[in-house]
Symmetry: C2
Subunit: 454 residues, 2 copies
């Protein structure tokens, strides 16, 4: 009798898991329970669908359901939400067409993704308040935009998703207010780097309100009134981008051990603490190689990779996931903003003896047209071990430079090792001294200078 | 009495050396002997000055001579060519204003750069035959172009400089023929990657003649006749880009030990075999970390770095240069072409058990506008140690991706380590699976598949 694998979640992690399992075991019965109406779409592309940069929603769908059902023989069930897990009985309960069902499994993979955090603001359940976490959400908001019904909008949250949303709305001609409770944008960057992003957002005409509270959202005759710090701001739509929490509640309620941010803890083969239950994607806390412990950093590449590992292992194969270093890049209007490893604030919160060195380089040879500034911050143990980097600049060529540091972090490099790097040079693409090397040079110099009085 | 340092060569390596020496020892007498009329200019920018992308020659000059003379107190002497070295007497001979002079030194740094190879073609000494190795060369050729005197041109050599020259000339509206003795372009790439470059060069309308010999260049009434494979090709100018040799003859004649390609051998502090004589830049063979021995790879970043080390050490400081991995990138019309480490051919020539894995990725998320193909070749020990990579694609974002592999080579990574990399992702800048990771995946799969019958 064939074994049955049930995968909860049909996003990047879930479909990677199901596909990997199929490769390992052609005979396995594989059921995928997806709560929404779409599977395997590029969630990170939603802002570009809203902005119109991506014309049609189906362009975001990597493969249609028929592909998975026919080519990969996956029993993919949409509009099917897992509700309760009985690990001892090896049974998962789910809701479909308004009714509860139960399904036995030999192995289960929880790949339910993340849920948008909803601040407890009166009126946040209004129809014109959107969380853009699913393709359905984005299609609804885009319809409103296409119909010309959104002249003004409020974005709640100035993290990277909030700023992507602000950019998308500005591109649609919408007058945008962004309200953020913290005194700055992008809390996952150190303040001097975040300040560069803030400047760009304001330069693009966004009404950015930092240290601001949204107290209420109220329906009016022709839209909404948002109450921000006691001031009434009339808008046509609200986008909530106040962070993401792991969708781990079903597994956690069944006793699965959770860690940072409430995400599921897994071993390096993606096994949870529950027997025959694995997990992958945004609902887990993967091992962070610089922190040396699990961390909740929900990002696309790790969702794909952990999904593949979970599927391989669940089907009887062998695979491990060595962890993340926290690499991310985001486009904020004309800037590429990237980070990897730890910020100074994160390193200090961890009790590390860290310092930061800032340097300003260029994206190309000085004399080559289009050369722009590249700001680099290296975080390190006073000239010793490298802990992280942040990078801001304009142009496509800037974005991927963070990967140099991501590799160096994986290798456990010191600042000295970084200085020795043999990086590519040609006037159209780089200056002869790469911005990261300039920063490394500054880090050794300042470490040396700092060492004199000590 | 103050000590005297003499630096032979005022290019990237020489001026880096002199500047570093000044930082270490404010009292040192520093004389720089530069054969040409310019110092410290961006030699790699010459093609972009020819094309008009860089409007004025002085934009290529990083700092004018007055800066070095006044701010850094360097005795910079232009039009001054070193002719003979007497290491036992600590004397360097040089020619200035047609006369021989001698100058004593305590330390000497040879940073004379590279000389263009001149194939023994009758007529190659014609006035309208150019080697574009110095700013003077480029200014002469550009004058001819600006005056509208170049309608057709021949480039001899299809290495990276030859192709940069071809691009520059095409941008000036010149009809360009490129003649290359080898059966393919860019001998420092493996054939499948070189083929992509060849295709682009032809697509741009260049008359590319591979496996071709230029037998003679003759003056005619209104220009030149190039005799190529027995066929007469009338042109207005010829650019020779047939490779570069280390300008090591003065030091070599004095007994300095040379290595690959006739380049000077140095230790990791840039000391040659001659007492008190150091060397840096394109005239040395730096240590190649993948080969595990010195190699002649004349490139800008190493010239700057080895210059800095030589200057620091010559002035009494401490510094070492850990070597190169052979990273380079070049723009060939609409393609970025990059390499690092060893090609398959180079690894095989070294007796290594190497294989190559090719993969085709994309530069951005599939649905994001402007996503283009990125071809990656990884060279590795059959799924084990990484030996090198080659990469071709369009767009600025492609160029710097080679640096990921450059870092991995320095770290001694295996294909497995590469697979574990946590690289940045955002739809405008990258696909969720980076092209290099796709290639690494293919490398393990093929290694695994290959392992089955064994």
């Amino acid at each position: 009798m064939s074994q049955r694998l049930v995968v909860v979640g049909g996003g990047a992690a879930g479909m990677s898991a199901a596909s990997a399992a199929r490769r390992v075991d052609p005979a396995l019965e594989i059921v995928v329970l997806e709560a929404g109406g779409y599977s395997a779409y590029g969630m990170c592309g939603l802002p570009y669908f809203l902005s119109g940069t991506v014309a049609r929603a189906d362009a975001l769908v990597a493969y249609p359901p028929a592909f998975f059902r026919e080519k990969r023989r996956l029993d993919l069930r949409l509009q099917t939400r897992a509700t309760r897990l009985e690990p001892d009985k090896h049974v998962i309960h789910y809701r479909e067409d308004g009714r509860e069902h139960r399904l036995g499994y030999h192995r289960l993979i929880v790949a339910a993704g993340g849920s948008p955090s909803l601040p407890p603001i009166p009126g946040i359940d209004n129809d014109h308040v959107f969380t853009v976490r699913t393709l359905e959400d984005a299609i609804s908001l885009r319809s409103l935009l296409d119909a010309g019904h959104v002249g003004r909008a409020l974005v709640i949250g100035a993290g990277y998703i909030g700023l992507e949303m602000a950019e998308a709305l500005v591109q649609r001609g919408v007058v945008v207010t962004v309200a953020e409770e913290l005194p700055r944008v992008m809390p996952n960057l150190d303040p001097p780097i975040a300040a560069l992003v803030e400047e760009e957002v304001r330069r693009q005409g966004v009404d950015l309100r930092l240290g601001s509270r949204v107290d209420a959202i109220r329906s009016t005759d022709d839209g909404l009134d948002a109450l921000i710090d006691g001031q009434v701001v009339p808008v046509d739509a609200v986008v909530v981008a106040a962070g993401v929490r792991p969708a781990a509640s079903v597994a956690a309620a069944a006793g699965a051990i959770t860690g940072p941010g409430g995400a599921l803890l897994v071993d390096d083969s993606m096994r949870t603490s529950l027997p025959d239950v694995l997990a992958a994607g945004d609902c887990i806390a993967p091992y962070h190689r610089v922190l040396g412990r699990p961390a909740f950093v929900p990002l696309g590449p790790a969702a794909n990779k952990t999904g593949r590992v979970a599927g391989t292992v669940a089907a009887g194969g062998e695979a491990t996931f060595p962890g993340v270093v926290g690499t991310a890049v985001v486009k904020v209007f004309d800037l590429a903003v990237a980070r990897t490893g730890l910020t100074l604030a994160e390193a200090e919160a961890e009790g590390m003896h860290a310092v930061a060195t800032d340097a300003l380089g260029r994206s190309r040879a000085k004399y080559y047209p289009g050369a722009g500034p590249v700001s680099v911050r290296l975080v390190h143990e006073s000239g010793g071990r490298l802990l992280g980097a942040q990078l801001v600049g304009s142009g496509e060529g800037v974005a991927k430079r963070i990967d140099v540091v991501a590799v160096a972090l994986q290798a456990g490099f010191s600042i000295e090792d970084l200085l020795a790097l043999d990086l590519s040079y040609a006037p159209p693409y780089a200056p002869v001294y790469e911005p990261i090397l300039l920063a490394a040079q500054a880090a050794t110099t300042s470490a040396r200078d700092a060492a004199v009085p000590a």
